[in-house]
Amino acid sequence: MSTVSWITARGLFGRRRFLLLLPLPVLLLTLAILSRSLGVDPGEWGPAVLVGLGLAVVLPVVALIVGTGVLGAEIDDGTVVHILTKPLPRWQIILPKLAVAAGVTAVTVAVPLYVAGVLAHSVRLGVALAVAASIGSLAYCAFFVALSLLTRRPVLLGLVYVLIWEGLLGNFVSGTKVLSIQQYVIALADRIAPTEMLATNVSVPVASVMSALIAVGFTALAVDRLRSFSVAGETS
Protein backbone atom coordinates (compact mmCIF):
# COMPACT_ATOMS: atom_id res chain seq x y z
CA MET A 1 0.00 0.00 0.00
CA SER A 2 1.68 3.16 -1.16
CA THR A 3 1.86 6.28 0.95
CA VAL A 4 -0.50 8.17 -1.32
CA SER A 5 -3.25 5.58 -0.95
CA TRP A 6 -2.65 5.54 2.80
CA ILE A 7 -3.02 9.32 3.01
CA THR A 8 -6.12 9.17 0.81
CA ALA A 9 -7.77 6.49 2.91
CA ARG A 10 -7.02 8.44 6.07
CA GLY A 11 -8.40 11.60 4.49
CA LEU A 12 -11.63 9.75 3.70
CA PHE A 13 -12.11 7.96 7.01
CA GLY A 14 -10.34 10.30 9.37
CA ARG A 15 -13.24 12.70 9.64
CA ARG A 16 -16.77 12.32 10.83
CA ARG A 17 -18.13 13.00 7.38
CA PHE A 18 -17.53 9.48 6.15
CA LEU A 19 -20.48 8.57 8.38
CA LEU A 20 -22.46 10.37 5.69
CA LEU A 21 -21.88 7.30 3.53
CA LEU A 22 -23.53 4.87 5.93
CA PRO A 23 -27.26 5.77 5.76
CA LEU A 24 -27.55 5.00 2.05
CA PRO A 25 -26.49 1.31 2.16
CA VAL A 26 -28.27 0.81 5.48
CA LEU A 27 -31.50 2.11 3.98
CA LEU A 28 -31.08 -0.23 1.01
CA LEU A 29 -30.63 -3.20 3.33
CA THR A 30 -33.53 -2.18 5.57
CA LEU A 31 -35.95 -1.87 2.68
CA ALA A 32 -34.89 -5.21 1.20
CA ILE A 33 -35.18 -7.04 4.51
CA LEU A 34 -38.48 -5.35 5.33
CA SER A 35 -40.02 -6.25 1.98
CA ARG A 36 -38.76 -9.80 2.17
CA SER A 37 -39.96 -10.41 5.72
CA LEU A 38 -43.42 -9.04 4.93
CA GLY A 39 -43.70 -11.43 2.01
CA VAL A 40 -44.13 -8.87 -0.76
CA ASP A 41 -43.71 -10.31 -4.26
CA PRO A 42 -40.02 -9.83 -5.23
CA GLY A 43 -41.09 -8.96 -8.76
CA GLU A 44 -42.68 -5.83 -7.32
CA TRP A 45 -40.11 -4.62 -4.81
CA GLY A 46 -37.05 -5.95 -6.65
CA PRO A 47 -36.84 -3.31 -9.40
CA ALA A 48 -37.69 -0.48 -6.99
CA VAL A 49 -35.01 -1.40 -4.46
CA LEU A 50 -32.30 -2.86 -6.67
CA VAL A 51 -32.48 -0.47 -9.61
CA GLY A 52 -34.48 2.51 -8.36
CA LEU A 53 -32.56 2.86 -5.11
CA GLY A 54 -29.42 0.76 -5.44
CA LEU A 55 -28.10 1.34 -8.94
CA ALA A 56 -29.75 4.69 -9.68
CA VAL A 57 -29.15 6.49 -6.36
CA VAL A 58 -26.80 4.75 -3.93
CA LEU A 59 -24.09 3.84 -6.44
CA PRO A 60 -23.76 7.23 -8.18
CA VAL A 61 -24.18 9.31 -5.02
CA VAL A 62 -21.62 7.31 -3.02
CA ALA A 63 -19.24 7.35 -5.99
CA LEU A 64 -19.78 11.10 -6.32
CA ILE A 65 -19.04 11.84 -2.66
CA VAL A 66 -16.02 9.51 -2.54
CA GLY A 67 -14.71 10.14 -6.04
CA THR A 68 -14.67 13.91 -5.72
CA GLY A 69 -13.53 13.62 -2.11
CA VAL A 70 -10.23 11.83 -2.73
CA LEU A 71 -8.76 14.59 -4.87
CA GLY A 72 -11.29 17.43 -4.89
CA ALA A 73 -11.15 17.97 -1.14
CA GLU A 74 -7.36 18.33 -1.24
CA ILE A 75 -7.57 20.74 -4.15
CA ASP A 76 -10.22 22.70 -2.26
CA ASP A 77 -8.15 23.29 0.85
CA GLY A 78 -4.89 23.56 -1.06
CA THR A 79 -3.07 20.63 0.55
CA VAL A 80 -2.72 18.99 -2.86
CA VAL A 81 0.44 21.09 -3.22
CA HIS A 82 2.22 18.85 -0.71
CA ILE A 83 1.72 15.82 -2.92
CA LEU A 84 2.37 17.67 -6.18
CA THR A 85 5.77 18.91 -5.02
CA LYS A 86 7.00 15.37 -4.30
CA PRO A 87 9.04 13.80 -7.11
CA LEU A 88 6.30 11.36 -8.06
CA PRO A 89 5.09 10.61 -11.57
CA ARG A 90 1.52 11.85 -11.85
CA TRP A 91 0.10 8.41 -12.51
CA GLN A 92 1.45 7.29 -9.15
CA ILE A 93 -0.78 9.91 -7.57
CA ILE A 94 -3.91 9.31 -9.63
CA LEU A 95 -3.92 5.51 -9.64
CA PRO A 96 -3.70 4.94 -5.86
CA LYS A 97 -6.33 7.62 -5.26
CA LEU A 98 -8.60 6.08 -7.88
CA ALA A 99 -8.02 2.62 -6.43
CA VAL A 100 -8.99 3.79 -2.93
CA ALA A 101 -12.05 5.63 -4.22
CA ALA A 102 -13.27 2.73 -6.36
CA GLY A 103 -12.54 0.23 -3.61
CA VAL A 104 -14.41 2.16 -0.93
CA THR A 105 -17.35 2.76 -3.26
CA ALA A 106 -17.45 -0.86 -4.36
CA VAL A 107 -17.46 -2.17 -0.79
CA THR A 108 -20.06 0.34 0.36
CA VAL A 109 -22.41 -0.42 -2.53
CA ALA A 110 -21.72 -4.04 -3.51
CA VAL A 111 -22.24 -5.59 -0.08
CA PRO A 112 -25.79 -4.31 0.49
CA LEU A 113 -26.63 -4.93 -3.17
CA TYR A 114 -25.43 -8.52 -2.84
CA VAL A 115 -27.64 -9.09 0.21
CA ALA A 116 -30.60 -7.41 -1.47
CA GLY A 117 -30.06 -9.45 -4.63
CA VAL A 118 -29.98 -12.70 -2.65
CA LEU A 119 -33.17 -11.72 -0.84
CA ALA A 120 -34.89 -10.72 -4.06
CA HIS A 121 -34.05 -13.65 -6.28
CA SER A 122 -30.98 -15.84 -5.89
CA VAL A 123 -27.32 -15.87 -4.93
CA ARG A 124 -26.55 -15.55 -8.61
CA LEU A 125 -28.39 -12.25 -8.87
CA GLY A 126 -26.60 -11.05 -5.75
CA VAL A 127 -23.20 -11.87 -7.20
CA ALA A 128 -24.17 -10.32 -10.54
CA LEU A 129 -25.25 -7.09 -8.87
CA ALA A 130 -22.10 -6.98 -6.74
CA VAL A 131 -19.79 -7.54 -9.72
CA ALA A 132 -21.64 -5.07 -11.94
CA ALA A 133 -21.70 -2.47 -9.15
CA SER A 134 -17.94 -2.86 -8.65
CA ILE A 135 -17.32 -2.28 -12.35
CA GLY A 136 -19.71 0.65 -12.23
CA SER A 137 -17.97 2.15 -9.22
CA LEU A 138 -14.65 2.04 -11.06
CA ALA A 139 -16.16 3.83 -14.06
CA TYR A 140 -18.00 6.39 -11.92
CA CYS A 141 -14.94 7.09 -9.75
CA ALA A 142 -12.65 7.52 -12.77
CA PHE A 143 -15.18 9.98 -14.19
CA PHE A 144 -15.57 11.96 -10.97
CA VAL A 145 -11.82 12.05 -10.21
CA ALA A 146 -11.19 13.42 -13.70
CA LEU A 147 -14.05 15.87 -13.17
CA SER A 148 -12.44 17.21 -9.99
CA LEU A 149 -9.35 18.09 -12.02
CA LEU A 150 -11.25 19.60 -14.92
CA THR A 151 -13.37 22.03 -12.95
CA ARG A 152 -13.51 23.84 -9.65
CA ARG A 153 -17.07 22.65 -8.95
CA PRO A 154 -16.80 18.88 -9.52
CA VAL A 155 -19.69 17.94 -7.23
CA LEU A 156 -22.18 20.18 -8.99
CA LEU A 157 -21.11 19.03 -12.45
CA GLY A 158 -21.28 15.44 -11.22
CA LEU A 159 -24.77 16.12 -9.95
CA VAL A 160 -25.71 17.53 -13.34
CA TYR A 161 -24.61 14.24 -14.84
CA VAL A 162 -26.32 12.03 -12.25
CA LEU A 163 -29.55 14.02 -11.85
CA ILE A 164 -30.15 15.62 -15.22
CA TRP A 165 -28.38 13.35 -17.68
CA GLU A 166 -29.02 9.93 -16.13
CA GLY A 167 -32.11 10.75 -14.10
CA LEU A 168 -34.16 13.21 -16.08
CA LEU A 169 -33.06 12.72 -19.70
CA GLY A 170 -32.64 8.97 -19.25
CA ASN A 171 -36.36 8.73 -18.56
CA PHE A 172 -37.55 10.81 -21.48
CA VAL A 173 -34.92 10.60 -24.19
CA SER A 174 -33.93 6.98 -24.63
CA GLY A 175 -30.94 7.86 -26.83
CA THR A 176 -28.99 9.21 -23.85
CA LYS A 177 -29.04 5.76 -22.30
CA VAL A 178 -26.19 4.71 -24.57
CA LEU A 179 -23.99 7.18 -22.73
CA SER A 180 -25.01 6.39 -19.17
CA ILE A 181 -22.93 4.35 -16.74
CA GLN A 182 -26.08 3.35 -14.87
CA GLN A 183 -27.41 1.57 -17.96
CA TYR A 184 -24.08 -0.23 -18.46
CA VAL A 185 -24.22 -1.53 -14.91
CA ILE A 186 -27.78 -2.78 -15.41
CA ALA A 187 -26.84 -4.42 -18.71
CA LEU A 188 -23.83 -6.18 -17.19
CA ALA A 189 -25.78 -7.41 -14.17
CA ASP A 190 -28.54 -8.65 -16.44
CA ARG A 191 -25.99 -10.54 -18.54
CA ILE A 192 -24.47 -12.35 -15.55
CA ALA A 193 -27.84 -13.26 -14.03
CA PRO A 194 -30.72 -12.98 -16.48
CA THR A 195 -33.91 -12.09 -14.60
CA GLU A 196 -36.95 -10.06 -15.49
CA MET A 197 -36.14 -7.48 -12.83
CA LEU A 198 -33.38 -5.68 -14.72
CA ALA A 199 -34.36 -4.17 -18.03
CA THR A 200 -32.27 -2.04 -20.34
CA ASN A 201 -31.91 -1.49 -24.04
CA VAL A 202 -28.13 -1.20 -24.02
CA SER A 203 -26.43 -4.29 -25.42
CA VAL A 204 -23.82 -6.13 -23.36
CA PRO A 205 -20.85 -5.57 -25.74
CA VAL A 206 -21.57 -1.85 -25.86
CA ALA A 207 -21.85 -1.77 -22.07
CA SER A 208 -18.59 -3.59 -21.40
CA VAL A 209 -16.60 -1.70 -24.03
CA MET A 210 -17.97 1.66 -22.93
CA SER A 211 -17.34 0.97 -19.22
CA ALA A 212 -13.74 0.04 -19.97
CA LEU A 213 -13.35 3.08 -22.22
CA ILE A 214 -14.75 5.40 -19.57
CA ALA A 215 -12.57 3.94 -16.82
CA VAL A 216 -9.36 4.01 -18.84
CA GLY A 217 -10.07 7.21 -20.74
CA PHE A 218 -10.95 9.35 -17.75
CA THR A 219 -8.00 7.97 -15.76
CA ALA A 220 -5.66 8.93 -18.60
CA LEU A 221 -7.33 12.32 -18.80
CA ALA A 222 -6.91 12.84 -15.05
CA VAL A 223 -3.20 11.94 -15.23
CA ASP A 224 -2.79 14.34 -18.12
CA ARG A 225 -4.63 17.17 -16.37
CA LEU A 226 -2.61 16.70 -13.21
CA ARG A 227 0.58 17.15 -15.27
CA SER A 228 -0.31 20.73 -16.05
CA PHE A 229 -2.31 21.44 -12.93
CA SER A 230 -2.18 24.99 -11.66
CA VAL A 231 -3.09 25.68 -8.07
CA ALA A 232 -5.34 28.71 -7.90
CA GLY A 233 -7.17 30.25 -5.00
CA GLU A 234 -10.93 30.05 -4.77
CA THR A 235 -12.64 32.50 -7.06
CA SER A 236 -16.15 33.88 -7.08
Binding site: P23, L31, L38, G39, V61, G69, V155, L159, L168
Partner: protein, 293 residues
Protein backbone atom coordinates in the same frame (compact mmCIF):
# COMPACT_ATOMS: atom_id res chain seq x y z
CA UNK B 1 18.25 58.19 27.52
CA UNK B 2 16.34 60.93 25.74
CA UNK B 3 12.88 62.11 26.59
CA UNK B 4 10.03 60.49 24.60
CA UNK B 5 9.15 62.95 21.91
CA UNK B 6 6.30 61.12 20.17
CA UNK B 7 2.92 62.82 20.06
CA UNK B 8 -0.43 61.29 19.20
CA UNK B 9 -1.89 63.64 16.67
CA UNK B 10 -5.59 64.19 16.36
CA UNK B 11 -6.08 63.48 12.66
CA UNK B 12 -9.77 64.01 12.74
CA UNK B 13 -11.36 60.60 13.10
CA UNK B 14 -15.00 61.01 14.04
CA UNK B 15 -17.62 58.73 15.42
CA UNK B 16 -20.76 58.19 13.40
CA UNK B 17 -23.53 60.01 15.20
CA UNK B 18 -26.31 59.84 12.62
CA UNK B 19 -29.34 57.59 12.75
CA UNK B 20 -28.71 53.84 12.66
CA UNK B 21 -31.00 51.61 10.67
CA UNK B 22 -31.38 48.76 13.14
CA UNK B 23 -32.53 45.19 13.07
CA UNK B 24 -35.19 45.28 10.40
CA UNK B 25 -32.80 46.74 7.85
CA UNK B 26 -30.03 44.28 8.71
CA UNK B 27 -32.52 41.51 8.11
CA UNK B 28 -33.66 43.06 4.85
CA UNK B 29 -30.12 43.57 3.58
CA UNK B 30 -29.18 40.00 4.43
CA UNK B 31 -32.33 38.69 2.74
CA UNK B 32 -31.72 40.70 -0.40
CA UNK B 33 -28.07 39.70 -0.52
CA UNK B 34 -29.06 36.06 -0.12
CA UNK B 35 -31.61 36.30 -2.91
CA UNK B 36 -29.09 37.97 -5.22
CA UNK B 37 -26.39 35.43 -4.50
CA UNK B 38 -28.88 32.60 -5.03
CA UNK B 39 -28.95 33.58 -8.69
CA UNK B 40 -25.31 34.64 -8.77
CA UNK B 41 -26.15 38.32 -9.23
CA UNK B 42 -23.24 40.51 -8.21
CA UNK B 43 -20.90 37.54 -8.49
CA UNK B 44 -18.64 36.34 -11.26
CA UNK B 45 -19.95 34.57 -14.34
CA UNK B 46 -18.94 31.21 -12.85
CA UNK B 47 -21.38 31.61 -9.99
CA UNK B 48 -24.20 32.24 -12.46
CA UNK B 49 -23.75 29.06 -14.50
CA UNK B 50 -25.62 26.55 -12.38
CA UNK B 51 -28.59 28.61 -11.12
CA UNK B 52 -29.29 29.98 -14.58
CA UNK B 53 -28.82 26.56 -16.16
CA UNK B 54 -31.70 25.26 -14.04
CA UNK B 55 -33.75 28.42 -14.59
CA UNK B 56 -33.12 28.14 -18.35
CA UNK B 57 -34.25 24.51 -18.47
CA UNK B 58 -37.53 25.15 -16.64
CA UNK B 59 -38.27 28.21 -18.78
CA UNK B 60 -37.57 26.29 -21.99
CA UNK B 61 -39.86 23.47 -20.81
CA UNK B 62 -42.57 26.00 -19.99
CA UNK B 63 -42.18 27.65 -23.38
CA UNK B 64 -42.41 24.26 -25.05
CA UNK B 65 -45.57 23.38 -23.14
CA UNK B 66 -47.09 26.73 -24.06
CA UNK B 67 -46.23 26.21 -27.72
CA UNK B 68 -47.83 22.76 -27.72
CA UNK B 69 -50.94 24.16 -26.09
CA UNK B 70 -51.34 27.05 -28.48
CA UNK B 71 -50.79 24.87 -31.52
CA UNK B 72 -52.83 21.80 -30.64
CA UNK B 73 -55.08 23.11 -27.89
CA UNK B 74 -54.13 20.25 -25.61
CA UNK B 75 -53.20 20.95 -21.99
CA UNK B 76 -50.17 18.73 -21.46
CA UNK B 77 -49.56 19.87 -17.91
CA UNK B 78 -51.57 21.97 -15.50
CA UNK B 79 -49.83 24.70 -13.54
CA UNK B 80 -49.67 22.58 -10.39
CA UNK B 81 -48.38 19.52 -12.25
CA UNK B 82 -45.48 21.57 -13.56
CA UNK B 83 -43.81 21.71 -10.15
CA UNK B 84 -44.09 17.94 -9.75
CA UNK B 85 -42.57 17.31 -13.17
CA UNK B 86 -39.59 19.53 -12.33
CA UNK B 87 -38.80 17.88 -9.01
CA UNK B 88 -35.30 16.69 -9.99
CA UNK B 89 -34.36 20.16 -11.12
CA UNK B 90 -35.68 21.62 -7.86
CA UNK B 91 -33.50 19.18 -5.90
CA UNK B 92 -30.50 20.21 -7.99
CA UNK B 93 -31.28 23.89 -7.50
CA UNK B 94 -31.44 23.45 -3.72
CA UNK B 95 -28.13 21.56 -3.84
CA UNK B 96 -26.58 24.49 -5.71
CA UNK B 97 -28.05 27.40 -3.81
CA UNK B 98 -28.36 26.07 -0.25
CA UNK B 99 -24.62 25.53 0.28
CA UNK B 100 -23.95 28.80 -1.53
CA UNK B 101 -26.03 30.64 1.05
CA UNK B 102 -24.84 29.14 4.33
CA UNK B 103 -21.80 26.88 3.79
CA UNK B 104 -19.60 29.67 2.42
CA UNK B 105 -20.06 31.73 5.57
CA UNK B 106 -19.33 28.70 7.76
CA UNK B 107 -16.28 27.80 5.69
CA UNK B 108 -14.67 31.21 5.72
CA UNK B 109 -15.56 31.81 9.35
CA UNK B 110 -17.23 35.19 8.93
CA UNK B 111 -20.18 34.46 11.20
CA UNK B 112 -18.66 36.38 14.17
CA UNK B 113 -18.55 39.43 11.91
CA UNK B 114 -22.25 39.08 11.13
CA UNK B 115 -23.15 38.58 14.77
CA UNK B 116 -21.15 41.61 15.87
CA UNK B 117 -23.95 43.65 14.27
CA UNK B 118 -27.29 44.13 15.98
CA UNK B 119 -28.44 40.88 14.40
CA UNK B 120 -29.95 38.13 16.56
CA UNK B 121 -28.81 34.57 15.78
CA UNK B 122 -32.22 33.54 14.58
CA UNK B 123 -32.53 36.44 12.17
CA UNK B 124 -29.50 35.33 10.21
CA UNK B 125 -30.93 31.84 9.71
CA UNK B 126 -34.41 33.14 8.92
CA UNK B 127 -33.13 35.68 6.40
CA UNK B 128 -31.17 32.97 4.60
CA UNK B 129 -34.21 30.70 4.70
CA UNK B 130 -36.38 33.47 3.35
CA UNK B 131 -34.09 34.09 0.41
CA UNK B 132 -33.93 30.39 -0.44
CA UNK B 133 -37.72 30.11 -0.26
CA UNK B 134 -38.12 33.13 -2.52
CA UNK B 135 -35.54 31.86 -5.00
CA UNK B 136 -37.26 28.46 -5.20
CA UNK B 137 -40.66 30.07 -5.57
CA UNK B 138 -39.35 32.24 -8.40
CA UNK B 139 -37.86 29.15 -10.01
CA UNK B 140 -41.23 27.40 -10.04
CA UNK B 141 -43.40 30.48 -10.42
CA UNK B 142 -41.70 32.16 -13.38
CA UNK B 143 -42.33 29.29 -15.82
CA UNK B 144 -45.94 29.11 -14.66
CA UNK B 145 -46.27 32.79 -15.45
CA UNK B 146 -44.87 32.11 -18.92
CA UNK B 147 -47.47 29.37 -19.39
CA UNK B 148 -50.19 31.72 -18.13
CA UNK B 149 -49.21 34.50 -20.51
CA UNK B 150 -49.18 32.05 -23.40
CA UNK B 151 -52.61 30.75 -22.48
CA UNK B 152 -54.06 34.20 -21.76
CA UNK B 153 -53.06 35.67 -25.12
CA UNK B 154 -54.42 32.75 -27.11
CA UNK B 155 -57.70 32.24 -25.27
CA UNK B 156 -60.88 32.32 -27.34
CA UNK B 157 -63.28 33.45 -24.64
CA UNK B 158 -61.97 37.00 -24.12
CA UNK B 159 -61.65 38.26 -20.58
CA UNK B 160 -63.66 35.34 -19.25
CA UNK B 161 -61.02 32.88 -20.50
CA UNK B 162 -58.22 34.95 -19.01
CA UNK B 163 -60.04 34.99 -15.68
CA UNK B 164 -60.44 31.19 -15.74
CA UNK B 165 -56.74 30.82 -16.50
CA UNK B 166 -55.92 33.12 -13.61
CA UNK B 167 -58.04 31.00 -11.28
CA UNK B 168 -56.00 27.98 -12.42
CA UNK B 169 -52.71 29.81 -12.03
CA UNK B 170 -53.19 31.00 -8.44
CA UNK B 171 -53.43 27.51 -6.87
CA UNK B 172 -50.43 26.56 -8.98
CA UNK B 173 -48.44 29.40 -7.48
CA UNK B 174 -49.57 28.45 -3.97
CA UNK B 175 -48.49 24.88 -4.64
CA UNK B 176 -45.11 26.19 -5.85
CA UNK B 177 -44.86 28.09 -2.56
CA UNK B 178 -45.45 24.84 -0.66
CA UNK B 179 -42.65 23.22 -2.65
CA UNK B 180 -40.40 26.18 -1.92
CA UNK B 181 -41.04 26.18 1.84
CA UNK B 182 -40.56 22.43 2.34
CA UNK B 183 -37.49 22.08 0.13
CA UNK B 184 -35.85 25.23 1.46
CA UNK B 185 -36.23 24.31 5.12
CA UNK B 186 -34.98 20.75 4.68
CA UNK B 187 -32.18 21.73 2.29
CA UNK B 188 -30.92 24.67 4.32
CA UNK B 189 -30.83 22.59 7.49
CA UNK B 190 -28.58 20.01 5.79
CA UNK B 191 -26.41 22.70 4.20
CA UNK B 192 -25.90 24.44 7.54
CA UNK B 193 -24.33 21.29 9.00
CA UNK B 194 -21.11 21.53 7.01
CA UNK B 195 -18.86 24.28 5.74
CA UNK B 196 -17.82 22.32 2.68
CA UNK B 197 -20.06 23.20 -0.22
CA UNK B 198 -19.26 19.94 -1.98
CA UNK B 199 -20.36 17.79 0.92
CA UNK B 200 -23.42 19.92 1.58
CA UNK B 201 -24.54 19.52 -2.04
CA UNK B 202 -23.97 15.76 -1.92
CA UNK B 203 -25.85 15.47 1.36
CA UNK B 204 -28.87 17.40 0.13
CA UNK B 205 -29.16 15.28 -3.00
CA UNK B 206 -28.64 12.07 -1.04
CA UNK B 207 -31.42 12.90 1.42
CA UNK B 208 -33.94 13.88 -1.24
CA UNK B 209 -33.12 11.04 -3.62
CA UNK B 210 -32.81 8.18 -1.20
CA UNK B 211 -36.15 8.90 0.41
CA UNK B 212 -38.01 8.60 -2.90
CA UNK B 213 -37.81 4.78 -3.22
CA UNK B 214 -39.15 4.41 0.33
CA UNK B 215 -42.48 5.62 -1.03
CA UNK B 216 -42.33 3.05 -3.80
CA UNK B 217 -41.70 0.23 -1.34
CA UNK B 218 -44.32 1.33 1.16
CA UNK B 219 -46.96 1.64 -1.53
CA UNK B 220 -46.71 -2.06 -2.41
CA UNK B 221 -46.81 -3.31 1.18
CA UNK B 222 -49.64 -5.74 1.92
CA UNK B 223 -51.61 -3.26 4.00
CA UNK B 224 -54.02 -0.68 2.74
CA UNK B 225 -53.32 1.76 5.56
CA UNK B 226 -49.58 1.62 4.92
CA UNK B 227 -50.18 2.14 1.21
CA UNK B 228 -52.26 5.21 1.84
CA UNK B 229 -49.68 6.60 4.26
CA UNK B 230 -46.76 5.69 1.96
CA UNK B 231 -46.30 9.22 0.70
CA UNK B 232 -45.10 10.31 4.11
CA UNK B 233 -41.85 8.57 3.15
CA UNK B 234 -40.23 11.41 1.20
CA UNK B 235 -40.55 15.20 1.09
CA UNK B 236 -41.39 15.16 -2.61
CA UNK B 237 -44.23 12.68 -2.18
CA UNK B 238 -45.42 14.46 0.96
CA UNK B 239 -45.86 17.69 -0.97
CA UNK B 240 -47.63 15.82 -3.73
CA UNK B 241 -50.02 14.23 -1.24
CA UNK B 242 -50.80 17.59 0.37
CA UNK B 243 -51.40 18.96 -3.12
CA UNK B 244 -53.73 16.07 -3.93
CA UNK B 245 -55.70 16.70 -0.78
CA UNK B 246 -56.00 20.46 -1.13
CA UNK B 247 -56.02 21.00 -4.90
CA UNK B 248 -57.81 17.85 -6.01
CA UNK B 249 -58.23 17.59 -9.75
CA UNK B 250 -55.97 20.56 -10.51
CA UNK B 251 -53.07 18.25 -9.69
CA UNK B 252 -54.50 14.91 -10.82
CA UNK B 253 -57.00 15.62 -13.60
CA UNK B 254 -59.77 13.08 -13.66
CA UNK B 255 -58.28 11.18 -10.75
CA UNK B 256 -59.81 10.55 -7.38
CA UNK B 257 -57.47 11.54 -4.54
CA UNK B 258 -59.20 9.02 -2.30
CA UNK B 259 -57.58 6.16 -4.22
CA UNK B 260 -54.05 7.15 -3.28
CA UNK B 261 -54.16 8.88 0.06
CA UNK B 262 -57.50 7.61 1.36
CA UNK B 263 -58.87 9.67 4.21
CA UNK B 264 -55.45 10.70 5.45
CA UNK B 265 -55.38 14.15 3.83
CA UNK B 266 -55.34 16.05 7.15
CA UNK B 267 -52.53 13.79 8.39
CA UNK B 268 -50.41 14.75 5.40
CA UNK B 269 -51.06 18.46 5.96
CA UNK B 270 -50.15 18.11 9.64
CA UNK B 271 -46.96 16.19 8.86
CA UNK B 272 -45.93 18.78 6.27
CA UNK B 273 -46.41 21.58 8.80
CA UNK B 274 -44.53 19.60 11.44
CA UNK B 275 -41.68 18.86 9.02
CA UNK B 276 -41.20 22.52 8.15
CA UNK B 277 -41.53 23.62 11.78
CA UNK B 278 -39.09 20.97 12.95
CA UNK B 279 -36.51 21.84 10.31
CA UNK B 280 -36.73 25.56 11.09
CA UNK B 281 -36.42 24.86 14.82
CA UNK B 282 -33.35 22.68 14.25
CA UNK B 283 -31.87 25.35 11.98
CA UNK B 284 -32.31 27.98 14.72
CA UNK B 285 -30.77 25.60 17.26
CA UNK B 286 -27.88 24.98 14.91
CA UNK B 287 -27.15 28.68 14.62
CA UNK B 288 -27.35 29.16 18.37
CA UNK B 289 -24.55 26.59 18.61
CA UNK B 290 -22.51 27.96 15.72
CA UNK B 291 -22.78 31.47 17.08
CA UNK B 292 -21.58 30.40 20.50
CA UNK B 293 -18.40 28.95 19.07
Amino acid sequence: MSEPTGVIHDIGYQRYTGPRLGRRHVFGALYLHGLRSAFGLGRSAKAKIFPWLVMGIVLVVAAGLTAVRTQTGQVVMTYAQFADAMSWLVIFFVAVVGPELVSRDLHSGVLPLYFSRPLPRGDYALAKLGSLVTALWLLLGAPQLVMFLGAAFTTDNGMRGVWDELLDLLPGLLYAALWAVVFASVGLLIASLTGKRAFAAGGIVAVFLMTAPIVGILSIMPSRTVNELAMLGSPTALIHAVGQYTLGDLLVPGGDPETQIGGFGPVYVAVAVLLVAGCVALLLLRYRKVAAR
